[in-house]
Each structure stands twice: as structure tokens, then as C-alpha cells.
Homo-oligomer: 532 residues x 2
Amino acid sequence: MTSKNNATGIENDMKNEKQMNGAESLLRTLVNTGVEVCFANPGTSEMHFVSALDRVEGMRPILGLFEGVVTGAADGYARMTGKPAATLLHLGPGMGNGLACLHNARKAGSPVINIIGDHATHHRRFEAPLTSEVETFARTVSHWVRTTRDARSVAADTALAVQAARAHPGQIASLILPADAAWDAAERPAQKLPEAPRAQVSDEAISQVAAILKSKKVAIMLRGDVLEDEGLIAAGRIASLTGARLVCDTYTPKIQKGAGRVKVERLPYRPTPAIEFLKGIEMMVLVGTQPPVAFFAYPGLPNELTPAGCGVMTLSFPHEDGTSALIALADYIGAPPTPTLVRDSLPKFSLGLNALTSAEVGRIVADNLPVNAIICDESITASAGHFAIFDCAAPSDYLQTTGGAIGHGLPMAVGASVACPDRKVIVLEGDGSAMYTIQSLWTMAKEQLDVTVVIYANNTYAILRDELINVGATEGPQASAVFDINGPVIDWVRMANSMGVEAAVASTPSQFSDIFKSAMKYNGPFLIAASV
Amino acid sequence: MTSKNNATGIENDMKNEKQMNGAESLLRTLVNTGVEVCFANPGTSEMHFVSALDRVEGMRPILGLFEGVVTGAADGYARMTGKPAATLLHLGPGMGNGLACLHNARKAGSPVINIIGDHATHHRRFEAPLTSEVETFARTVSHWVRTTRDARSVAADTALAVQAARAHPGQIASLILPADAAWDAAERPAQKLPEAPRAQVSDEAISQVAAILKSKKVAIMLRGDVLEDEGLIAAGRIASLTGARLVCDTYTPKIQKGAGRVKVERLPYRPTPAIEFLKGIEMMVLVGTQPPVAFFAYPGLPNELTPAGCGVMTLSFPHEDGTSALIALADYIGAPPTPTLVRDSLPKFSLGLNALTSAEVGRIVADNLPVNAIICDESITASAGHFAIFDCAAPSDYLQTTGGAIGHGLPMAVGASVACPDRKVIVLEGDGSAMYTIQSLWTMAKEQLDVTVVIYANNTYAILRDELINVGATEGPQASAVFDINGPVIDWVRMANSMGVEAAVASTPSQFSDIFKSAMKYNGPFLIAASV
């Protein structure tokens, strides 16, 4: 026990009143390192961590009734704050349930710290029911994995986990906490480790790109924090001067969109349109991303989407400071101080009288978007036209499912809303996708998050029907049986109500418009089932 | 193309009309090896497998809207049929969502064959959104993992996967199918591999146990198919002659229970009562199980539950033919041909007038149990008294969550009902546990499975409250926030209705009794929320 800890007057439930246990040293280290939220679905092995929540100030626990809610929320939180939340998970299977959303977080470059309880070290050699190789579960998605040795090691390991998570781009750090490392006596928490400055792009690399911009038709491919604020403005300045196209990946972790901002084009999903889209480009300049590749392979179609004869050069790797590089590049080439910004407004639109379409849903959302909303888009087939529509809507942050593991939209919205309680969060969600992590609605109700969920209720895995054709296969009745989610049709109002979320159905454009407008005035979770 | 396949008149969608693709050779091999059901949640990479379902007779696809439904159902199906179903999963994250229930299946010794699509081999080197280390996901729970090399290898690999799954006890076999191995041309399906006979226990081992039974106070610990039919009768014969106690693990994959059957005691969950329960035993004889260990470790309590001074000897390892060994042992010691059977009936019980309790729910279920029902018990804290009650009820098969990964009861019921459509399946389910895989209700409605779901709606993770105390920790308001699932309270009727399942709430014993009796006459899925 150090005098420092005596001075802060820590109380605990150990025999020795002056001594904290491992769980408390972990929690205090998280708080010391700036981690303020813990999305949790704990079990027995995590009880000392849970108990410590009442002895340590500064950590907000948020319960998810399924681990995918927990991990997807941590991703949404990280995307909006740029810093990690902790997750609290129960051994291998508990982590297993969280892996799909962690996969997406990994692809998004989001920082996440997973705290995964395990059996006490002296219990692990037995084949108890929950005994599993927790590290093997963790390795599937984690950049950093460590099983802490004992209670005295927990604080240092936690500080290292936070450091790993906060790398550029963010990483998935998984700290496995044996139960005895939680309940045994620890010494003290650790402080945050000093941070190395972010790697800078060399002047040489910048001047090389500058030369290319003069001589070639260029597409600048952007990903990461360069799609926000100064980075986006600098990219716009470069485009304004040189005519270079600004392009983002089909699924990008976060991008600022809307009127008064710099416009970025989205790479199409399918390989043939993507290659067509990039036609005529002589050089792709990468800023925080990789040369574009197809989402899936298809028989006879290319994997790589860079057009024939087009070169590729890297302005900044994902770990480098792309924003500073773009600013330096813009200044170097003498770009104007202000870029061309989106001034267009959406063409006049009259509500149709017929059945509601997905396109109309997107358009009505865009027309009624509050300023500074956060859009979590997992509408899959419904979203084809969305990206462009929101260019001309009110300014927003636009988040997508980055790793193709569906069921991410709702949890991501939970985390985004916890991160930004004063902003409206809007989820554009496929019905099939919503069902993977539908328990998210309960957390939205519990925490009274200001989230409007729009379900595109087409009662089918529409993407699979498309993809069946794309891969050259055929559909018969047996295949249809795994595409249709219409027998029974899901009653979205009852589903939402069952977990304490208000909801309504919209079957026509005017119904949807009315309900959506009301939802924008409502503060709290609300679900709209758009029958499309 | 072999003449055999020409003879069966296979049609396909490939250019060469006479040639099947890898997916079809996989599917035909599964059918050839006796795999008849495929629980599926496919994605793009699995579309050729899905398409082949319409060209191959003998495989029933069953859609789950979440992968945990799929894998838990495969476990329930395996427990009731003794043979594997296939699962169809989408790359690493899709398998991730199925891992928790596969963990339970692994602990249950259930045979399961996972077919996991992956990117085409030429696409895997790219960091596409869904690119992941699928084998790493699979290794967390699988006894056998293989990534098939190409379409011509698929048939042989599938036959090996089925062989691996059908080992004794059953295993988790995971076959990773790159998209091009599904769509490229294959030669022909494979036939089922010859099966080796199950390992027999030596006469020497049997005579050693026989000698012990004469001289020591013995507990025979039973797990696996010895808890059914001839094995259970033989165990009962031995107990009748020698006074040996028959004991099963706290969580056992499957046991036949009820009046007219051999009674087996259940090892208590907590270490101290478990050791007390085994007090006086001088030798534990293991039949298909291991020496008992605590579910979790607790500070200051033992991990191993074998009483001090008690010996341990193995009659049969899990892979051996325990049933034949028990029969041989019973004959060797001259046990009577018929064991002592449960003749007791439950004491007279009057419905209380007060609020419904968990104990009353169990008792009413037991009193109104149809003959030959299948009980899937995941009622956690509510189930303490259940096991003994069902000894005196109508004969049933009793299934439990074996690996501690909760959310298994509902999916297991899906699989059990698919396996045994003529039997009533009853799920005794905690409310917290139900929420992990609540999408199971949709599959129950789609397939019109004859499943009655009883939810113990106590609006809390009651087990965690108990365990917090057991591990010596304390509860404050922050800890309570992760135990209580009462803000909002889940409306179980709306939840069930939203997915097409009829439902009702019972708040008093007479209400529950009336509704449960009606449910027993109803054919199809029905949910009862028991407010306890």
C-alpha cells in the first residue's frame, strides 16, 4: 500500500481495509487512463469488477442483454469520441458472442478494451463447464491479447492494454482477467502511459504526391479521421485546385456529410460498377486506406478494383497523421484556403401516394434531418442511394458497418448516443440485420438514449437474393426458404414495445414523413417500421 | 463425371450440364453420410450451397435469424437423435455468433458439422471487409477443423468431417468452404466412411469395479448415453444389488427421468453442498465422466469435489461403450434383472393463492407433464428444486445447458423439436438467459414447432446476485445496475407475438396451471411468462 493510495482514501471489501483488490486496481487504472464507460454483460468471474464499480468514481457501467450489444456499442462510442470504452465479458463464450461486432470495430480502426473474466488460475486446469481457451477466442479479433498473471500485475497490464487500444488507428486490446487476479490483493493502480506523437508523413512523400497531382488524373482515396474537420477541408482544398476526385471506401467508419461540407464520392459496392466509377483515373493516392478491393469475389470478376494502367501511391498509411499531411499538401501546392463546399439542396420532392419505397424513406429522412445528427447506416440493399442524398442534407456524421458482420447498426447507435447524448442518432437498419442484435433496443430504453430506429421492413434478406444471382447461382423453393423472413412477418411495433421502446408503422410516404418528423421532436428511443 | 452420377440424373446450373459444383458435392456427401438437417444463417459466400439445396433431395434447411439459434439447434438435434446436423455459417463473424452454443455442444459431447463459408481462395490475401482468420474462430470450439483446398477436395473433406463429428462422444467438426471451392467444378460426392466399432471396456476393468462395489461405499458418476435406456437400467440393477449411489453431473447433456425409471441424484451446484452431498463415499466410479469439479472457483473453497479420502476409478472413459460395460458389470455381480424404479408420486399439492413462485411453476409443470416430453432446462436459479421433482413426474428426456454459456435453452428446443416432431418440448427458461437467443422464437413459429416456453420472469440476473455474495464481493447501486433487467421490464407477450408466437402471462399459481394445461393441448409454439 503506497502513501498515495492512502491519501485518496480508498475503501474496499478486503480483510485489510487499506488494500485494494486486483479488480479495483484495474478499474482505477482504466479511470486514470481516461476510460469512462464500460459496456457490460458480466458473469460470476467478473463480480469483483462489478463490485468495484461502487468504490471507484468515474466509470459508467451500461448493461447489454447480449454481448454483441456491448461490443458494438463500444465501437460506436469509439467512433464518436476517438477514445476507447471498456467492455466486460464473461469467459470464452461471452467473448464469442461479442466477436462479430469486434470484427467490425477492428475493420473500423476503433479503439476498444475488452476485459474478459476467466476462471481462477488454480481452476483452469479442470474441465469445468465454462473452461475454454479464452486467448483463442480473443485472438480472432484482437491486435493485443494478454492474460494477466496475478492481482499485482493487473494495473500494469491494464495500462498497456489502454496504450495498445489507443494506437493509430485504434486497436482491439483484450485483457483476460482470471478470477483470482480480480479478488487477490493488489498494490495500486497504474497511471496512463506517455503517448508517442503520431507518425508524420515526410516532406518528400508530400512533394511526390504534389507532382503527381499536377501531371495525372488523380483520385484521392480517404479513410479514417481525414474524413472529418481539418482533414476533410484540406482534401477539399486540394480537389478545388487540382480537380482530383475525392473518394471513400464503400463502407467507411465515419464521414462528415451534408450541406456546407466537402463532398466525397463513395466507391460502388459491386466490382463492375466500381471499376467503371474509377475509369479514367491515372493515379490513386491513398490517405489512410488501401487500394480498393471487392467486398466479395465473384466468378470471373476481378478482386482488385484499381483500373488497368492506374498507378497507386500512398500519401499516408493508416497509422500516420493523414490530416497534417493533407494540410501540408494543400499548402504546398498553393490550394485556396477554402474548398468547394456542397451548396446544392435536394431537388423538390413531393410525397408519393403509393406504397412506400426505400428511396423515399431515405429522402424523407434527409429532408427532415436535424443539424448535427449521427446516422448509423446498416440498411444494406436499401441504402444504395442514401450516401449521395445525405450530401445535400443537414450536416451529419455518417457511420457504416465496416466489416460486413451484420447486426452492427443498433449497437453502434447505442454507443454513439452514449458518447453524444445531446445529438440525435438515427439508425437506418435492414430488418434482417436488426434481428441479430435486437436486444439493443432494451439498452436504448434503459438508458433513454435519443435514438430513432428506422427499420426497412421488406421481410427478406434482400442482399442474399442479389448475391445469389451475382455469384451465378439459382433460386428454388428450398433456397427461398432461407431468404424470406416473412413467415411469420416480424411485428416491429410489438418487438420494440416489448423492450420498452415506443414504435409505429409507416406504409405510405406521408405516414412515414409524419412519424419521422414527430420522432425528430421526441427525445428518447423510437422505432419506425417502414413497410417497403 | 462418373456414370453413377449420370445415372441419378443430377441437374445443375454450371455451364457443363453434366458436372456438379463443389457445393453440390458437399451437400450430396452430407446426405450420403446420413446428415438430413441443415440449420442455416448463410451469406454471400454460401449461396452456391443454398442453391444446391434445390437440386439435392434429402436435406431440410431451417433458417435461424441469428447464428446462436443455428448452432444451439444443432446441439439439441444431436442430443435427441445421436447424430449430427449441419450448420451453415458465414465467415468468421458468422461463426463467432455461433460459438457460445457450440461451446455448450462441445461440453455435451454432441456431434455437429459446421459448414463455414469463406472468401474465394484468390480473394483471401486482400483485406476485404469480411476477411478474417476463419480457422482461428473455428479452433475455439472445434475438435476438427479443415479448410478445404478446392472443389475437387470438398467431398472427401466432408466425409472426414462427418466421421470426426460422429466419434464417441460426439465432436465439433468445422469445414471451411472457400467460395471458389463451392462454385468450381467437382467430380462426385463421397460415401460415408466405414465406422470403427465403439471401444469396449476390458473384463479386467469390470472385475476391478465389481470388487470395489463389494467392499466400499460407492457413488457411480454417470454421463452420456448411459443415462438412457439399457445403460440406465444396468446402472439401476447395480445400485439395487450393491446400494451404490447413482449420481450425475450438475449439468448433464441428457437424462431420462420420471416415474417407472431409475432414479439418479444430481450433484449440487455449489462446492460446499456438493462435498457434503458426497460425504461418506469411499470410491467414485466414473462412467463417461470425470471426477467432479466446481463450476467456478470461489475464494477459500476447493475446486475438486471428491471428498477427502475418497478414491476415484474409471469404469468407462467418455469414448468407450459405457452401456455395455454397465450391463456386463451388472451381470458379473449377479444383479437382479430389474432395477428399483421410481414408484413415488409427488405429494398432494394445492395451488397457492398468493403470488406465483418458481417452485410452484416447476411443480405445476411436473404435475401436468405429458408422457415422453422433452424438457430443456435453462432456468438457472429457478431450477434448484426441479431436477428432483421431475423424478416423480411422467417420463421425460431432460436436457440442460452443459457449458455454462447461457442462451442455450431456446435454440436447443428448436433442434429437439425438429428431431422429435411428435413429442412436446418444454423449455424452462430464465428471462435473462432467454434474451441472448430470443430470435429462436421466430424459427419456432416458422417451423410451427410444438414447443412450450416457460419464462421465469423475475426481471433480474438472479444468479449474479447469488454469485456476487459467493465470491465475497458486495453490491452497491452501480453493481445493481448490471443485475437488474427491470428498467424496462420485458413484455414477454409482445416479444413472443412480435415473432409470431402466441403467449400469455401468469401471475398466480392457478393462472399458470390453467395456461400450462392449455398449452399442453395446443400444438405449436406457445410462450408463458411466469411472473415469479
